[in-house]
Symmetry: none
DNA sequence: AATGAATGAGTCTTCATTCAT
DNA sequence: CATGAATGAAGACTCATTCAT
C-alpha cells in the first residue's frame, strides 16, 4: 500500500517537476531553443522519462501549455470571485480586486510563462492561441463584464457596454506594469497597489455617474 | 556613373531585402528557430552575402532589431506630430490621432515584428530591450504626455499626471485590438476607427473637465 | 502437480510465444531493425523475461534461427518420407510430392522466415548459414537424391548424377513460385499444384528413359 | 570550360561514389543497419553532401535501388541480345548464353546487391519490388521466352508454353549456384561453365524434339 | 557574388541494457 | 515476473560557419 501510494506520489511529483522544468525552459528559450536534455536535468528525471510520458518535444510543449492554461483558468476564476459585488468603498474595493488580478493573473510566474509560450508560438500552433483565448481570456472578460453590469444595475456605475468596459478596465490596470509584464518580473505590492489604484481612479472618473 | 548608381542601388536593395527577409524569418521562427539559408533564400541573396554583410547570425539579428527600432521610432515620431494640439472637435481629432497610432505603430507589420523580437529575445539580449524602450517607448510616451499637457493647459482636459494619462491613453486605444496585436494581423480601418473611438470616449469621460 | 504442470506449460508457452514473436519481428525488420520492446509486447511477456531467458538480442536471434532450423529440418525430413519410392503413377505421385515440398518447406511461414533471417544476416553471422546448410539444405538434397536414385534403379528414371538431378528438381518446382517466395505469401493449393505439375512434367521429359 | 567540365565530372563522380558506397553498405547491413556516416565516409564525401543530394536515408535507399535496377535492366537486355537465335551447336551456344546470364545477371555484384536490397526490404517498401519486377524480371523473361519461341519455330526445340520454359531455363541455370548467390561470391568461369552446361543439358533433354 | 561542399557541433529520438520495486 | 525509470550509446538530421571555385 505504502509502496503504491509513494509510487503514485512519485509519479505525480515527477509529472509536476517535468511540467515545471519544461515550462521554465520553454519560456526562457522558446520552443526551438529549448533543449530536452536541459529540461530532463532541471526536472531531475531521465531523458527517457520525458519520452515515456510525453512522446516528443512537441507533445511535451502542448502538455505544458495545456497545464498552464488549466491552472491560469482556475486562478482567474478564483480572482473573479473576489469582485466587489456589493462594495463598501468602491475605489478601495475595486483597487483591491484589480491588485489581485494584476498579481495573480497578469504578473504571476505562470501567467508570464503562458503568455510567452502562446505569444511566441501562436504563429506555429494557432490552436494554442485558440484554446488559450477561449478557456482563459474570454471567460475572464465575461465574468468581469457580469460583475460590472451588477455594479451598474446597483447604481454604482454608468455603463453602456459592459464588455467594452471590462476590456478597458483590464487594459487600464496593466497599463503601468508593461515593463514587469514584458520581463516577467513580479512587482512588489506597493507597485501593484499604486498601478491598480491609478487605473481604478481613471476608470471611476469615466464610469461613475455624474451629478 | 550609372553602373555606380545601380551598384549602389543594388547594394542598398540587397541590404533591404536581407533585413526584410531576416525580420520575417526571425519574427516567424524566433532566433534559434531561424535558418540562415532560409533567410538568404527569401532575401534572394547567397548565404555568403549574409556573412559578408553581417558577420554572423547574432549580428544579423541585432542589425534587424536596430533597423526596425529606427524605423518604428521615426514612424512614432511622425505619428506624434499629428497630435491635435489645437483641436476643432476634441473627440474626432483625438480619435483620428489614436487611429493613426494604432495603425502605424501598434498594428503595422514592423511594429508587430519588432514587438515579437524584443519580447521573444529580451531575456537573452537584455540590451535589445533597453535600446527599444529608450528609443521607442519612452520617447513616444514623453511626446504624448507633452501633447496631453498642452491640451490640459488649454483647458480641454483636466489632468494631474500627464505621463500617467499618456500611458492610460495608449493602454485604452489598444484594448480592443489584443487579438490582432497578438497574431500580427492588421485590422481594417473600420475596426481601427471603432476601437480608437471607444477608447477616446472613455478617456474623455475620465479627463474632460466637469461642469 | 497441476500447478507444476501448468507452470511448465506456461513456461513452455512463453518460450514459444517469444520465439514466435521474435521470428516475426526479426523477419519483418531484420536484426538491427528489430526492437526488443516490440518483441516482448508481441510475445505478451515483459522485456525482463526476454533478458532472463535469452541474455541479449544477439542470443535471442541465434535462438530463433536455431529453433526455426530445427523445425524446418523436421518438416523437410517428414516431407521426404512422402517421396514415392514405388510410384503407381509417376507424374501424379511426383507432383504430389513436389506440392508437399513446396507447401511445407518452401512456402511455409517458417520456411519464409528462416530464409529471410539467413539471407539477411548470413553476412554478419556466417555460422548461421553454415548450420542452416548442413542441417537443412544438404540433408534434404541427400534424401531427395537417394529417392531419385531408387527410382532410377527401378527403371523409372534415367539419371546419371542423382545429386545434380535433385538440385534441378528442387529448382524446377519452385521456378513458378518466385513471387510468393520473395514476398512470403502462401499460394493456394491450385497454384501450388499447377506449379508442381509443370515442373514435374519438364523433369520427367528430361529424365524418363526414352524408347 | 575546364572548370565547368571538371566540376561536372566531379559532380557525377561523387554521385557515383555515393551510389557505390551506399549500395555496398545497404547491401551489407540492410536498411536499418546502415549508417549514413559510414556511407559518407566510404563514398569519400561529407555527410552533408549525402543530404544535399538525396534528402534523407530512405530517399537515398530508393535512389540506390533505382540505380541498380536501371543498371541491371541494361545488363540483362544486353545479355539477352546474345541469345543464339541461329545456333550452330545448340548445346554449346545455349551454354555460352546461360553462362553469360549467370555471370552478368545472377552472380554479378550489382545483381547480388539488388537482390539483397529488394529481398530484404520488399516487405517495407512493396513498390521497390514492383519496380524491380516490372523493369527487370518480367522484361528478361519476356525476352527469353521470345528467343525460345524462335528456336521452337525453327525446329530446334519442342515447346508448348514459352514463358514457362523460360522460367524453367532460368531456374535450372542457377540451380547449382545457390551458395554463391546467397553469399554474393562470384564463382570462377569453370564453375559457371559447368553449372550452365549441366542445366542446358537437362533443359535440352526435356525440350529437344524426339525421334 | 553565387554555388556546392566540408566541417563540426548540437539536438531529437531510439534502443539495448540494467536496476529497483 | 511485470513495471517504470535510468543510463549510455548511437544514429538521423540540422545548421552555423568556412572554403574553394
Amino acid at each position: 500500500m505504502k509502496a503504491y501510494a509513494s509510487a503514485l506520489r512519485s509519479h505525480e511529483a515527477k509529472r509536476l517537476s517535468i511540467i515545471e522544468a519544461a515550462s521554465a525552459v520553454f519560456g526562457r528559450e522558446g520552443f526551438s531553443g529549448a533543449n530536452l536534455d536541459v529540461i530532463a536535468q532541471e526536472a531531475g528525471v531521465s531523458r527517457q522519462t520525458l519520452y515515456n510520458r510525453h512522446g516528443d518535444k512537441e507533445k511535451l510543449f502542448v502538455a505544458v501549455v495545456g497545464e498552464l492554461t488549466t491552472r491560469m483558468a482556475a486562478i482567474c476564476v478564483e480572482a473573479m470571485t473576489t469582485f466587489p459585488d456589493e462594495p463598501s468603498h468602491l475605489e478601495d474595493d475595486l483597487t483591491a480586486f484589480a491588485l489581485r488580478v494584476n498579481r495573480d493573473c497578469i504578473c504571476s510566474r505562470d501567467g508570464y510563462l503562458l503568455r510567452r509560450l502562446v505569444q511566441g508560438e501562436s504563429a506555429r500552433y494557432p490552436h494554442l492561441f485558440t484554446g488559450w483565448e477561449e478557456q482563459g481570456a474570454a471567460k475572464a472578460w465575461d465574468a468581469l463584464a457580469t460583475g460590472l453590469e451588477g455594479l451598474a444595475r446597483a447604481g454604482w456605475l454608468d455603463i453602456e457596454d459592459a464588455h467594452l468596459a471590462a476590456r478597458q478596465f483590464l487594459a487600464l490596470i496593466r497599463s503601468d506594469l508593461q515593463v514587469y509584464i514584458l520581463l516577467g518580473e513580479t512587482p512588489d505590492d506597493e507597485t501593484l497597489e499604486k498601478a491598480s489604484r491609478s487605473a481604478v481612479r481613471t476608470f471611476l472618473r469615466a464610469f461613475v455617474p455624474r451629478g
